[in-house]
């Protein structure tokens, strides 16, 4: 069988499109299955969060909430958006700029006991810099008019 040039070009274009379609599917699949959503402590408190997948929460580390277990590595603290507070447990070394009263973002899941088990704790490298997620959580809590803490500057 002789393949004409025109047919050949058509086949080529078809193969190219199929491959691009495959790549697009791959990318969007990966994208949707790796998206991590952000919730505020208030939303966690109301139970508006997924239970099977992980997510991020942000806010301030509640003052005097940091407790260390005897192994020196497991830490308990709570994250607050000034309206609600979520208890968090994390095993590992905390980032340099993790401090009580400062902004923080944690990624992980909520356990059946309501404690947020963090797999990752982020605090950014600038003394006065607030992670946008943490700032957002405070803003939303304030908008709901239930401020119970003075916002630190």
């Amino acid at each position: 069988m002789v393949i004409k040039a025109r047919h050949k070009r058509f086949i080529l274009i078809a193969i190219g499109l199929a491959l691009l379609g495959l790549a697009a599917t791959l990318i969007f699949n990966a994208f949707s299955s790796n998206m991590v959503f952000f919730y505020t402590p208030t939303q966690v408190d109301k139970g508006e969060v997924p239970h099977d997948t992980g997510f991020r929460i942000g806010g301030l580390v509640s003052p005097d909430s940091l407790k260390r277990q005897d192994d020196g590595l497991t830490v308990h603290f709570s994250i607050t958006d000034t309206a609600k507070t979520v208890p968090v447990v994390y095993k590992g070394v905390l980032p340099d700029l993790f401090k009580e009263g400062k902004g923080v973002v944690a990624q992980g899941k909520v356990g059946p006991d309501g404690i947020f088990v963090a797999s990752e704790v982020l605090a950014k490298h600038d003394e006065n810099y607030m992670p946008p997620e943490a700032a957002e959580a405070l803003k939303r809590a304030q908008a709901q008019g239930s401020t119970s803490l003075v916002m630190p500057k």
């Binding site: 050949k8 080529l12 190219g16 691009l20 790549a23 791959l26 990318i27 990966a30 994208f31 790796n34 998206m35 991590v36 959503f37 952000f38 991020r56 260390r68 192994d71 020196g72 590595l73 095993k91 590992g92 070394v93 905390l94 340099d96 700029l97 950014k124 490298h125 600038d126 003394e127 992670p131 946008p132 997620e133 957002e136």
Partner: protein, 656 residues
């Protein structure tokens, strides 16, 4: 007084760049030789003026002039002199000045090394670069002037962000910017070609060395950044898919596609429109990178400045540059003409496939970087896509690209034969498969990703070896003559491809076999990792120039034999009150041992993180090889023999 001189020089530079950006281009359109001739002196004047401004700012830093707001915000009298100078580009305003300065360096370089170009072409190229410069100088003078005074002057500066107080700060940003801004030359060549309607093999030959040089800088700049993050952040990671890293990686991916596409345009006259589009995209992504990093839209360590006016200006600038050049492309590209034909199995096809894969990879990075920002800006909530997204997208996209990389250089131009290729590469394929299975089994862990990574790395090694062997064998000449008679640009390709293979080995091994522990250690405690024993000696207090630190030492032994001592510091920078970790690293070809102090616990104990990173140094060595390959290609004879290319340019002109 000195800062005012700098400010004034910037204003003059803007005026000169306005002349450079308009008259030569108009002159080229109307055939006015005098106006075209303005391009070269204007490029030089612009460079001198911006250099004066740059030196003035550096002087203000060196002389600790805290009546300049930017100096007061980014320096301190206790900051060592090398960091005071590097602090010139430590913040928003100064890094833009660095950008403009580097752009003027590239512009003046083009004006110096373009004697062989037709007058109108040179006038257009320098003009386009002048227009880009207008945008940046205007931006600086309008919303981010580095020379702005602070009255009354501060007693002392607020200090440079401790994260940036590192030798990496001296090399990484200038290298990276040389790469970013270097793509402006390829961009200007493309716009000039679209304006002039002249796009031929000669155009590609002129454009190629500039693009390669920019690519070399970008490669080395990214490498320096990755290495810096590895030892500075204390997490043992070398790439975080952070938006700032992505911002530099996207132009790299497109730039890599561009240097290959340019090769086809030069050798075969094909892919012309595609090459032009890639050049526009590479530079647009560089601009976007600057925007992402410098406008404060990101949740990232690099984005210190938050000023909506600045963001708006850069956004408008981006729209004008990208939109304008794409519109010009859509309008003029149909006149470019088609190149030579090629069959489905040919080097052109393989290169095209690689180009498409690289472009798709760049798009996937763009999506992952920008989509969360869009959602946020539109009020649809905050999301993030982390490393898992990029990892799962990159492996399937880069695997075929690496596979094709082995075949492309061996395939013939225009029309290659698949059975012949298969026959020639069957040994390489066998060796790769065997290594990919046997080696992981020997190392005790075979996963699909390790197997795939090793297969691809060995495949690139083996096919490149085959390529070199075929090239050098079978003639009567002495081997050394044959090596010398092969063009350096060809050896450059070999070196760069081997660099990719070395890089792939590093990534595969470190991802597959790295291990880490986080432990509580009191003095005298011993931790075990990867067959090594780490004894915590203890912590002593030391005093740095602008910080105080706790320095912890770990003695590393294997089977009782002392191997090395890892020293990690936990610093507290006194001015900014920021803690910083300095990791203790023992680098080696086979593996790195890496330790960083966590937090002080009770009874003199500390939490300590220890990492075993096998072959991680190969990652950066591979990048160095790629950069070396680029430099080798640039040293090719045909770029050095000025007279010949001049004659050719004349001949081409006569034909056109």
């Amino acid at each position: 007084m000195i800062p005012e001189i700098g400010h004034f020089a910037l204003i003059l530079a803007l005026l000169v760049s306005l002349v450079l950006g308009t008259l030569p281009i108009i002159g080229a359109a109307s055939g006015n030789a005098v106006w075209m001739g303005l391009a070269r002196p204007a490029a030089r004047a612009q460079f001198l003026l911006i250099a004066v401004a740059f030196v003035c700012l550096a002087y203000a830093f060196a002389a600790m002039d805290y009546s300049v707001m930017y100096v007061a915000a980014n320096s301190n009298s206790k900051l060592p002199i090398q960091f005071r100078i590097a602090a010139v580009w430590g913040g928003h305003e100064g890094s833009l000045l660095l950008w403009a300065m580097i752009l003027s360096i590239w512009t003046v370089a083009v004006s110096l090394f373009s004697k062989h170009l037709p007058d109108d072409m040179r006038a257009r190229i320098l003009g386009v670069m002048g227009l880009v410069s207008v945008g940046f100088l205007l931006f600086m003078l309008m919303v981010s002037n580095p020379f702005e005074r602070l009255i009354p002057a501060a007693l002392d500066g607020r200090d440079l962000n401790p994260l940036l107080q590192d030798p990496g700060m001296i090399f990484h940003p200038p290298m990276l910017y040389m790469g970013y801004v270097g793509f402006s030359v390829a961009f200007a060549f493309s716009i000039a070609a679209l304006l002039g309607g002249q796009l031929d093999a000669a155009w590609a030959r002129w454009s190629r060395p500039w693009t390669t040089l920019a690519w070399v800088f970008l490669t080395l700049g990214i490498m320096a950044g990755s290495n810096w993050a590895y030892y500075e952040l204390g997490w043992g990671g070398w790439w975080f898919w952070d938006a700032v890293e992505n911002a530099s990686f996207m132009p790299w991916l497109v730039g890599t596609a561009l240097i290959h596409s340019l090769a086809v345009t030069e050798k075969r006259g094909s892919f012309k429109a595609w090459t032009v589009l890639l050049a526009i995209c590479a530079f647009s992504l560089s601009l976007l990178g600057t925007f992402l990093v410098r406008s404060g839209v990101l949740t990232s360590v690099h984005a210190f400045a938050t000023d909506p006016r600045r963001g708006l200006f850069i956004l408008a600038f981006l729209v004008v540059v990208i939109g304008g050049s794409l519109a010009l492309f859509a309008w003029r590209a149909p006149t470019i003409g088609r190149g030579g034909k090629f069959s489905v199995i040919s080097r052109e096809s393989f290169l095209l496939a690689n180009n498409v894969l690289l472009a798709v990879a760049a798009i996937s990075v763009l999506l992952g970087t920008l989509y969360p920002l869009f959602l946020d800006a539109l009020g649809f909530g905050k999301i993030s896509v982390g490393p898992p997204y990029f990892d799962s997208v990159f492996a399937p996209l880069m695997a075929p690209a690496l596979f094709l990389m082995g075949i492309g250089p061996i395939a013939r131009w225009k029309n290659a034969s698949l059975p012949e290729l298969a026959k020639r590469l069957r040994w390489a394929f066998g060796v790769s498969i065997a290594t990919a299975i046997i080696l992981p089994l020997l190392l005790g862990n075979l996963t699909p990703m390790i197997g795939l990574g090793l297969f691809l790395a060995v495949w690139v090694f083996a096919t490149t070896a085959n390529l070199v062997y075929q090239r050098l064998r079978g003639s009567d000449q002495a081997l050394i003559t044959r090596i010398k008679s092969t063009p350096r640009s060809w050896w450059g390709m070999v070196a760069a491809h081997l660099g990719i293979a070395v890089f792939t080995v590093g990534v595969t091994i470190v991802k597959g076999y790295e291990s880490e522990i986080a432990v509580r250690m009191a003095p005298g405690d011993v931790a075990h990792l990867a067959g090594f024993d780490f004894t915590f000696v203890g912590v002593d207090e030391i005093q740095g120039p602008n910080y105080s630190a706790s320095r912890g030492q770990l003695r590393v032994t294997k089977n009782g034999v002392e191997r090395t001592v890892l020293t990690s510091e936990k610093r507290l920078y006194t001015v900014t009150n920021m803690p910083m970790t300095e990791a203790g690293i023992s680098p080696a070809v086979i593996h790195d041992l890496y330790a960083s102090l966590g937090e002080p616990l009770t009874d003199g104990a500390w939490s300590v993180r220890i990492y075993h990173k096998p072959m991680v140094e190969w990652i950066w060595f591979g990048c160095l090889m790629m950069g070396f390959g680029g430099i080798l290609a640039l040293s090719d004879r045909r770029y050095r023999i000025k007279k010949r290319s001049k004659d050719e340019a004349l001949a081409n002109e006569a034909v056109a």
